[in-house]
């Protein structure tokens, strides 16, 4: 399922705290009980950071870890971050917690696998880190030993993380841009820091790193086979021509008049973004909108279809009319926000057709949120449509009504039948 895979990216991943060898001296430094206001702020920030998605296993106790995260390098098991002194982080000081968030190091100096998004969390302020720390100390301790990672050689050699850090990690708190508004800076702080959006929306390379120059340019999420679109290109998920309200609806309700969240993004909205207050959601929207470069998807004609793609098109229309049009409309206008529009929908026209194919195969529900507690679902068609039919209908949707996507092949459809569902 999505949350397992969301972060795997970093190739390596969260780490084990296998030792439990926290210095005794630390205990004396524990601060006095934090105020209720600080704890509440910490809870809010922990949600903005989506800690729960990885640090809570299915049907497991909250924040007790143990969630398996499959990565191309092996399986990592997330750690217990409850205040249990032996198996959790009960012995940690706020300094040590900050060192983990800011610099990706355990209290004993050991290196954390970068599935823990410390390359983003390094931007979090000390004050916010302390609030999250105070919150995590206030939750019920759970005695649950961390499970050892199951990494393949040579990735089980933790010293390799040093090389990764040299290439891809830049320590440093977020710096405001004085030429930009307070809202923009707040949004940037959340998106680049706690939100760790770049972990999926930036392509990662074979070393499990992502380069700053390609920040938010999109990429296929390893193991999950969902494409995390670019946030900078209006041809993908760039939000340049979305209104602020459309973006905040999308982020906090999970549906908007432009499209609904699906795949791994549904998890992020469900566990994290729906809890943002109005000011933060708006700030994030302002920043995200500003990331988009260039113009709307260009309207120039698509390359002439080959004989195959024109055949697919002619096969696709009757399938669309029979299976899709009752909700998405005869000309793809949908009934927003619950039946998303397909005409002009960026997510359907992207260079990568992975998401469009998977939506047809697997269907999906947007998350149930406070702003949309009873979402409408899209049926799966994997069992009703052949590979040829899936390719035909996706080709039709990607190339009709002014859409500028490319045709897809039956082989692509077939390959995605095996994609992990959860």
């Amino acid at each position: 399922m999505p949350r397992t895979l969301k972060h795997l990216l970093a190739a390596l991943a969260a780490s084990a705290l296998l030792t439990g060898a926290t210095p005794r001296a630390a205990v004396a430094q524990q601060p006095a009980q934090a105020s209720a206001a600080v704890v509440a702020k910490g809870e809010y920030l922990a949600r903005a950071g989506d800690c729960i998605a990885c640090h809570t296993a299915r049907e497991g106790k909250i924040f007790a870890g143990g969630l398996p995260m499959k990565t191309p390098f092996g399986t990592l098991y997330t750690s217990n971050i409850t205040p249990d002194p032996q198996t959790g982080i009960g012995m940690w000081t706020s300094d040590q917690f900050f060192q983990m968030m800011h610099n990706g190091r355990f209290p004993d100096g050991g290196l954390v696998y970068p599935a823990m998004p410390f390359a983003s969390y390094t931007k979090v302020t000390r004050e916010d880190s302390d609030a999250i720390y105070a919150y995590l100390r206030s939750i019920p301790p759970v005695k649950q030993r961390n499970r050892e990672h199951d990494l393949k050689f040579p990735f089980n050699n933790r010293s390799l993380i040093l090389g990764w850090r040299t290439l891809f990690f830049k320590e440093g708190e977020f710096k405001s841009d004085p030429t930009k508004s307070a809202d923009w800076n707040r949004g940037a702080y959340l998106v680049e820091g706690l939100g760790h959006c770049g972990m999926c929306h930036t392509a990662i390379n074979a070393l499990g790193g992502s380069s700053e120059s390609q920040a938010f340019e999109g990429g296929l999420i390893p193991m999950q086979n969902w494409y995390a679109p670019s946030l900078t290109s209006n041809k993908e998920a760039g939000l340049g021509d979305w209104t602020i309200e459309e973006i905040t609806d999308y982020l906090t309700k999970g549906v908007s008049s432009r499209g609904a969240v699906y795949g791994p993004m549904a998890e992020v909205v469900y566990n994290s973004l729906q809890y943002l207050n109005d000011g933060d959601a708006r700030a994030m929207a302002i920043y995200l909108k500003s990331l988009a470069q260039g113009t709307s998807p260009d309207k120039s004609a698509a390359p002439l279809p080959s004989a195959e793609s024109s055949l697919l098109l002619s096969l696709g229309k009757p399938i669309y009319d029979r299976e899709c049009a009752s909700c998405h409309g005869a000309v793809g206008l949908g009934m927003p926000p619950h039946y998303p529009p397909l005409a002009g929908n960026q997510s359907i026209q992207m260079g990568s057709a992975v998401n469009a194919i998977r939506m047809v195969l697997n269907g999906g529900y947007p998350p149930g949120t406070a702003g949309n507690p009873m979402p409408y679902g899209m049926p799966p068609f994997a069992h009703r449509l052949s590979d040829d039919e899936v390719a035909a209908v996706v080709t039709y949707i990607r190339t009709s009504w002014g859409n500028r996507g490319g045709p897809v092949s039956a082989r692509q459809a077939n390959e995605l039948r095996a994609a992990t569902l959860n």
């Binding site: 049907e59 269907g363 009873m374 959860n422």
Partner: protein
């Protein structure tokens, strides 16, 4: 008056919200031609809710269901369960048994009387004399294909399907042989639609086993 399609809204009904279920379970939860996709309509809401939660939390494993329900909150799953529990679409025609008369009779004996010597209770003792289930959480057994029934009993025998402890079905299925499962599935799927498809009221049947899903 013509309405602009762009301003048309999705119908504000449960039926429109659960269209995602229709391609496998039918628009009214009546089931489809696929033998492994069960009828949902008219099963007690408590049973359907328990299954939705179990699928969402991946305790009951079927990836397409686990994926669809992943981010749906409890109150909404309850509404979905109540929706399908309230529907009464027609039953499919009974299956023509592909087993011998002897096997069918064996299935009928187990379903209606159990096998006291082996400690096997009758299906009817909990699922009702007409096999229509009992509130809140015991499902009806009719309108299902033999393949589905035997796959579920098999899942319980092998521990891949479980319910809240005490898991009575795990105990019952563990007492059945493969031949028993085949016989019971053939018998149940060959039953005609009940004249009254309503499930029995809560507590109306004396259950022979403790059941975690159906606390008395």
């Amino acid at each position: 008056m013509a309405q602009s399609p762009a301003t048309e809204r999705a119908p504000d009904t449960m039926a429109a919200r659960v269209l995602a279920c229709a391609s496998c379970h039918g628009a009214e939860g009546e089931g489809t031609s696929d033998v492994y996709f069960p009828r949902l309509a008219g099963k007690p809401a408590g049973y359907l809710y328990n299954q939705l939660v179990a699928f969402r939390d991946a305790r009951r494993k079927y990836p397409p269901m686990n994926y669809l329900l992943d981010f749906l909150p409890d109150p909404y799953l309850k509404q979905m369960a109540e929706h399908f529990a309230s529907l009464r679409p027609p039953f499919p025609p009974p299956a023509i048994p592909d087993v011998s008369k002897e096997i069918l009779a064996r299935g009928e004996a187990i379903a209606t009387h159990g096998d006291p010597q082996r400690g096997i209770p009758a299906c009817a003792s909990c699922h009702g004399p007409t096999f229509s289930g009992m509130e809140p959480a015991i499902p009806g057994l009719l309108g299902l294909r033999a393949s589905y029934v035997s796959a579920q009993l098999g899942g319980w025998r092998y521990g891949t399907r479980t319910a809240t402890a005490p898991d009575c079905m795990q105990i019952v299925a563990g007492l059945l042989t493969e031949d028993d499962v085949k016989a019971v599935a053939a018998f149940l799927s060959s039953r005609p639609a009940p004249s009254d498809p309503s499930f029995a009221p809560r507590g109306s049947l004396p259950m022979p086993l403790a059941c975690g899903s159906q606390p008395n």
